[in-house]
């Protein structure tokens, strides 16, 4: 037994080394960096320098507010949408199932830059198809990029478009694992299809839904691509700046590694905290 383990670890060593150098060390290192003043050479240990600044920084609170706002609205809407899509995909009435499944999943594989460019075009003030469609039903055109509220909505729409199908596919797998005869039993129990959905399907999907929600929360906490590319670096005027973007600005533009590390740890800490709260809320009774 012992020698077997030793052999196994010897085979694992190359991976573990790489893991230690490129994963473990950066995590520890950035934690240490977050306690150092990195604007001076040499760096010096000053715990209050970054963390103190964070606590009083309006840019941080703005980014935090935007991130949480997107999280609170976009994640539930997307999960609900994904459930509806999964149920439709699972319907025996649906023809060309494979095609729909591909179509729902496709946004995930489309390049981020390409998709962002297309979204910018679609939502452009004068030429975008969205404003034309809105116009045709009598709604005045919206300047998606110059006002904060439409810009935030645009971010949420884009993120939802990109990830709803992905979540729908995961939920579909959950749906298909519910045995058919449970529904037959419910049918014989005179329970309507709608009640079956709310009293059987949803409760049995709970673990899968929690899984999707946790993934989505972690993803949204790190949101970067959309505000960077679609609303042009968190525009208008920081109105869509997220924590991810703030981190980027501090770390890569201002080369303020200490502060960026502190922001990164805050993001990770928040994601873990929210996830734990959610797992606790959704725990199995008993």
């Amino acid at each position: 037994m012992r020698t077997q383990n030793a052999t196994a670890y010897r085979f694992l060593t190359p991976y573990l080394l790489i893991f230690a150098v490129f994963w473990i060390w950066p995590i520890i290192s950035s934690f240490l960096i977050s306690f150092q003043a990195t604007r001076t050479v040499p760096w010096r240990f000053a715990p209050a320098f970054n963390w103190g600044r964070l606590i009083g920084d309006p840019a941080f609170y703005n980014a935090l507010k935007n991130t949480l706002l997107i999280l609170v609205i976009q994640v539930p809407v997307m999960i609900a949408l994904a459930i509806v899509m999964a149920v439709l995909l699972n319907s025996p009435l649906l023809k060309a199932r494979g095609l729909y499944r591909f179509a729902f999943f496709a946004p995930v594989v489309v390049g981020e830059v390409a998709y962002s460019a297309v979204f910018r075009l679609m939502f452009s003030l004068d030429f975008g198809i969205i404003n034309k469609l809105l116009n045709s039903v009598g709604i005045p055109k919206i300047d998606w990029f110059s006002n904060v509220t439409p810009a935030m909505a645009l971010i949420m729409i884009a993120v939802t478009w990109r990830w709803a199908g992905y979540n729908a596919i995961i939920i579909l797998a959950g749906l298909q694992s519910i045995p058919e005869d449970v529904y037959e039993a419910a049918t014989l129990d005179r329970v309507s299809k709608v009640k079956q959905f709310f009293h059987i399907t949803l409760p049995l999907l709970k673990p899968v839904i929690v899984f999707c929600a946790v993934l989505s929360i972690i993803g949204t906490m790190q949101l970067f691509t959309e505000p960077f590319l679609i609303t042009e670096r968190g525009g208008p005027g920081g109105g869509t700046e997220t924590l991810g973007l703030l981190l980027y600005r501090q770390g890569f533009r201002s080369l303020n590694f200490g502060y960026a590390s502190a922001v990164a740890y805050t993001m990770a800490g928040l994601a873990i905290a929210i996830t734990l709260v959610q797992l606790w809320l959704m725990r199995e009774p008993k």
Binding site: D181, A185, D189, R190, P203
Partner: protein, 361 residues
């Protein structure tokens, strides 16, 4: 309570016909068992009665009312599934009351029904558990309880005991029998186990490849099967089939020669039909109908390959010529493997079939 009538019921899956015009009359309060080998269409028939499968042809009536276009929920039936199909996220109590609660049944009445079902099935102690925390037998009870709570006109069971071990199966079989006596409700029960069929049924419907082969009381099927399939299916161990040839006929009997047993001859009285001389026929003899040499109408020599003595009963697997025979009771007592001995067949304790398997009476 209600009678169930199937008239020329046909089921097709696409172009593939799996039930070919079944006619079955089930009286009010009767316990009927559908039995047959795997894939013969038992579940399909049951699911058509339940309303879980469309009816491709013919009529199904429950309580005198044709149900072809009535929703499953409105047919007044309850079904117990082979897989139990319990709601995994609900406690036993919630499982039992779910249907009633969803339909706005008065709370007091729901509680009364759930309590009664729990008492009948002795599952009071399990009410707060979830299906995961129950044994197979307990789950089965809950599944039956869910059916009882509905107070249906007809109970349908689809192989409810096949996931249980042998001992529990016997126990549950007795309970289901007791339940039928207690509730007095029509029950239709599907199984491929002929022992379950024999012990539970008022009447058995034997199915084969989508056809009804015979309908009758257990002992009638045992004593007087309509064909070789039913004769072989009912009874355990299986009936022995001996190759034979008609060598002579009179106006009340046929003389047949057992071709694999040294030309032994049997004078077989017949009432209805007389096969042609030279026709190939099959003689069916149940294991328990071999007698001590000289006591029957035709003696045949056998050699015991394997002898099994279970105490109350002994089996001998005898390979006499190319035909393996199973012997039971007197003929097999005190025999050991390797023994050569002679057994005897009685004409009135044997059945004659033609080459196609139809009974010659």
């Amino acid at each position: 309570m209600a009678a169930v009538t199937l008239t020329n019921v046909v089921k097709r899956f696409g172009v593939f016909e799996v039930v070919h015009g079944a006619n079955i009359d089930i009286a009010d309060g009767e316990f009927v068992v559908f039995v047959g080998p795997s894939g013969c269409g038992k579940s399909t028939l049951l699911r058509m009665i339940a309303g879980l499968e469309d009816i491709s042809g013919g009529d199904i009536a429950i309580g005198g009312k044709v149900m072809n276009d009535v929703e499953a929920a409105d047919r007044g039936i309850a079904m117990v599934f082979q897989s139990y199909a319990l709601y995994p996220h609900m406690t036993v109590e919630q499982n039992l009351s779910f249907g009633l609660r969803m339909n706005g049944n008065p709370k007091a009445d729901t509680e009364r029904r759930v309590k009664r079902a729990a008492e009948i099935l002795r599952i009071d102690e399990l009410m707060q558990r979830r299906p995961k925390q129950l044994s197979g037998g307990q789950r089965q009870r809950v599944a039956i309880g869910r059916a009882i709570v509905r107070e249906p006109q007809v109970f349908l069971f689809d192989e409810p005991l096949s996931n249980l071990d042998a001992e529990l199966r016997v126990q549950m079989r007795v309970e289901i029998s007791r339940l039928h006596k207690e509730l007095g409700v029509t029950m239709i029960y599907v199984t491929h186990d002929q022992t379950e069929a024999m012990t539970l049924a008022d009447r058995i419907v034997v199915l084969k490849a989508g056809n009804v082969e015979q309908i009758g009381a257990p002992l009638d099927l045992y004593d007087d099967p309509a064909n070789r399939f039913v004769a072989g299916f009912i009874g355990s161990p299986k009936m022995n089939f001996l190759g034979a040839k008609v060598v002579d006929t009179s106006n009340s009997a046929a003389i047949i020669e057992l071709v694999n047993h040294g030309g032994a001859r049997l004078h077989k009285p017949l009432r209805e039909a007389f096969p042609a001389i030279g026709a190939e026929v099959v003689l069916g003899v149940r294991p328990e109908h071999f007698f001590v040499a000289g006591q029957g109408d035709c003696d045949i020599p056998v050699k015991a390959d394997v002898a099994e003595h279970l105490g109350s009963v002994s089996y001998v697997y005898a390979n006499a010529g190319p035909e393996e025979l199973i012997l039971e009771r007197e003929a097999s007592r005190q025999r050991a493997s390797g023994d050569h001995f002679t057994v005897s067949i009685k004409a009135e304790r044997s059945l004659l079939f033609d080459k196609a398997g139809a009974r010659i009476r």
